[in-house]
């Protein structure tokens, strides 16, 4: 099944070069794939995943290993960032 992975700020380096400027790529994953599995597959240091949203909804770090992604969902991840 297909999901969309968005990696922002310094995490964009974990996307293929051609996808970095738009900070997103479509990803083919097996049914039952969890958020933590995607993070591992892309080689993203878990400690750098400060903001993790699935379809815009916050996912706590403790839930990343059990949250199974569904077809078409958007997983967006940021390192520690803030604004004002």
């Amino acid at each position: 099944m297909k999901i969309t992975l968005k990696l922002f700020a310094s995490l964009a380096v974990h996307l293929p070069v051609e996808a970095r400027s738009r900070h997103r790529m479509d990803l083919e994953v097996e049914a039952g794939t969890t958020v933590a599995a995607v993070i591992q597959r892309q080689g993203i240091p878990p400690g750098q995943c400060a903001i993790v949203l699935v379809d815009g909804a916050w996912l706590a770090a403790a839930d990343q290993a059990t949250r199974v992604l569904a077809e078409g969902e958007v997983l967006a991840i940021w390192p520690p960032v803030a604004g004002g």
């Binding site: 968005k6 922002f8 700020a9 310094s10 964009a12 400027s21 738009r22 900070h23 750098q48 400060a50 903001i51 949203l53 379809d55 815009g56 909804a57 916050w58 706590a60 958007v74 967006a76 940021w78 390192p79 520690p80 960032v81 803030a82 604004g83 004002g84």
Partner: protein, 616 residues
């Protein structure tokens, strides 16, 4: 004793500068900067006066940590009665001006009256004099700073000035120091203009301006604080690299990015104007918008954006004066100039931001007013004939023209200078003004983030994100994660944020430290800097006292609980897309509880018990 204990009082009508000792009892009750100047203002003016009356006062003020080695200790504030809101106005700025004022030996400068002719104040350590500014009137901030430095043959003079917007009394005119740092909100620059005061120029060289209560303890406490900032992912890496602008995509993904005058909550062009986009090389000239990051005095975070425009961009191709590096867009400016009116051209936003810095006006209120004008145009209420050109949502050309006209006070720019509340009222649609107490919202939707909606409604200076940044718990999970649509616990959390923010704003340091610092990190620095006992408990009470003093001023000025409100759009028109789809503000649930945790009556008035407890 990190205060200099000296107040400079400038009577603009008489042309006199006099020195008086700082009221140390007030310093102990209100700490400094925001709190202390508010105490002076409240004690010295009638809250009901016209903000442009000579009876209004304008206070430049530092905090006890300003000009010290505390990280980010370069802040100063300008406090007055604001013309945009009719409420207390307190605008905070960084750069180097605040520290210079402290080095010259002053905790604050109180301007009273109005000068019969344009003047600027020149401070050289203990010496202060009003200087004729006829040659500066009509000049931009940038021209003014350059001229003053040349005139006095001193490149190290620090200048805070108004541009033409302040002279023209644009109701959201800013005071800009160090070319692109600004006391930006609530129209403090317009009050300065009404006093015929063009600039404050300071050169401070004193090494005995202030004395730390415990120098060794202060060194240890500030060093510890800097290590915390460096080790934190946000203040050590995120903010220096991407600035506040990194929030653009976060807030858009969350469905909380107000778009096209708050008609929508997600902007299809968000990525184009984001912090990430500022790093991307432009196809036109192969260079990135962002040149480098920048820091204010004593700052170890350095979130500032320094940008250089594409010289071939239509807005500047024949204007080489804008081809150099200058202050780039921060998140709030990029949102207001971009998403709020549907423009996704980063170069145009940068140009408009340059103009806001050059002529001194608040990009948040300006951009939001453009959005309101565009909606009026799309409704057919505002016409091309009236404006002088087409004004649809998304028009880059219109944004650029309106920025130029507002800066110069020309044509429809004069109407733009009124802000969205008066603009929308003038054209019969006050409901389209996205404001609280007359001040425009910043870059977070008050429907999508319930706590931010409450923060806007209750902010003492009108809609503002810097009085209680509920984005921290609702988006960033700092210090704990709260779901955006939940209301439970948010009134109490907001009160804690508001009180802590009042402490930080009164200390002389930057609010951004609080992404890493808690009160436990700030307290030892204040304790070592200031005489007396500054426990965490006492500091929080100081913050609460400041909040209630500001509230009392607003109530005395004529504001009521009815002004703790949000526009009907946020209360009745649900978010249309994204994860917050269907959301409207639940202010009616949260506000009564907020009054209760504040110790206020149902009418939003501090009870006698609360006033007695706080000594307000």
């Amino acid at each position: 004793m990190a205060w200099t204990k000296n107040v400079l009082r400038v009577n603009l009508e008489a042309g006199t500068c006099t020195t008086e000792p700082l009221n140390m009892q007030w310093a102990h009750d209100y700490l400094g900067q925001r709190g202390l100047a508010t105490k002076y203002l409240v004690s010295e003016i009638d809250p009901k006066i016209d903000p442009f009356s000579p009876a209004n006062k304008l206070i430049f003020v530092t905090g006890p940590l300003t000009g010290t080695m505390a990280a980010t200790g370069g802040r100063y504030s300008v406090v007055t009665k604001g013309p945009l809101t009719g409420a207390i106005a307190c605008s905070n700025s960084g750069g180097y001006f605040g520290a210079e004022l402290k080095f010259a030996g002053w905790d604050m400068v109180i301007f009273e009256g109005a000068s019969p002719k344009p003047v600027y104040l020149l401070i050289t350590d203990e010496k202060a004099e009003l200087v004729d500014a006829a040659h500066l009137w009509g000049r931009t901030v940038w021209e003014t700073e350059e001229t003053i430095k040349l005139q006095h043959q001193d490149p190290q003079i620090r200048v805070a000035a108004i541009g033409r917007a302040g002279e023209n009394r644009v109701l959201y005119a800013a005071i800009v120091n160090d070319l692109h740092r600004a006391a930006g909100r609530s129209g403090v620059g317009a009050v300065m203009g009404s006093k015929n005061l063009k600039a404050v120029a300071v050169r401070g060289t004193r090494t005995d301006a202030y004395h730390l209560a415990d120098p060794e303890g202060f060194f240890a406490a500030t060093e510890a604080g800097k290590k915390v900032l460096a080790a934190n992912g946000v203040t050590g890496q995120g903010l220096p690299t991407y600035g506040t602008q990194v929030l653009m995509n976060v807030i858009n993904e969350l469905g909380a990015l107000p778009t096209r005058n708050h008609r929508e909550v997600q902007f299809e062009g968000a990525h184009d104007i984001s912090g990430e986009a500022m790093h991307e090389k432009r196809p036109t000239d192969g260079k990135a918008n962002l040149v480098t990051n920048g820091a204010c005095f004593g700052c170890t975070i350095a979130c500032g954006r320094i940008s250089r425009m594409d010289p071939g961009h239509f807005s500047v191709k024949d204007k080489p004066q804008y081809h150099g590096a200058s202050g780039g867009v921060e998140y709030e400016a990029a949102w207001a100039l971009g998403a709020a009116n549907g423009v996704n051209d980063l170069e145009a936003l940068t140009y408009a931001n340059f103009l806001c810095n050059e002529d001194g006006f608040d990009p948040i209120t300006f951009g939001a007013t453009v959005g309101a004008a565009m909606e009026l145009y799309e409704l057919g209420v505002l016409t091309e004939q009236e404006v002088g050109f087409k004004l649809p949502f998304g028009s880059t050309e219109a944004l650029v023209k309106l920025a130029e006209m507002t800066a110069k006070g020309e044509g429809f720019g004069k109407v733009m200078g009124l802000g969205s509340k008066r603009l929308c009222t003038k054209y019969g649609h006050p409901e389209l003004s996205m404001t609280v107490k007359g001040q425009e919202f910043p870059a977070y939707d008050g429907r999508a983030l319930q706590g931010m909606g409450l923060a806007y409604a209750t902010s003492n200076r009108g809609a503002c994100h810097l009085r209680g940044y509920m984005v921290s718990p609702e988006v960033l999970g700092i210090p704990v994660k709260m779901e955006p649509q939940d209301t439970e616990g948010k009134p109490a959390m907001l009160k804690a944020f508001q009180d802590l923010t009042a402490v930080v704003d009164s200390a002389g340091i930057c609010l951004f430290t609080t992404f890493a610092w808690g009160l436990t990190d700030i307290q030892p620095q204040l304790q070592a800097a200031c005489e007396g006992d500054w426990s965490e408990e006492r500091l929080l009470q100081v913050g609460e006292r400041i909040w209630n003093l500001e509230r009392q001023f607003n109530l005395a000025a004529g504001l009521t609980a009815k002004d703790d409100n949000l526009p009907s759009r946020l209360m009745k028109e649900p978010a249309q897309t994204g994860p917050q789809k269907g959301a409207v503000s639940k202010l009616d649930i949260m506000l009564p509880e907020y009054y209760q945790v504040r110790g206020w009556t149902k009418e939003g008035v501090p009870t006698a018990e609360t006033r007695t407890r706080l000594g307000v």
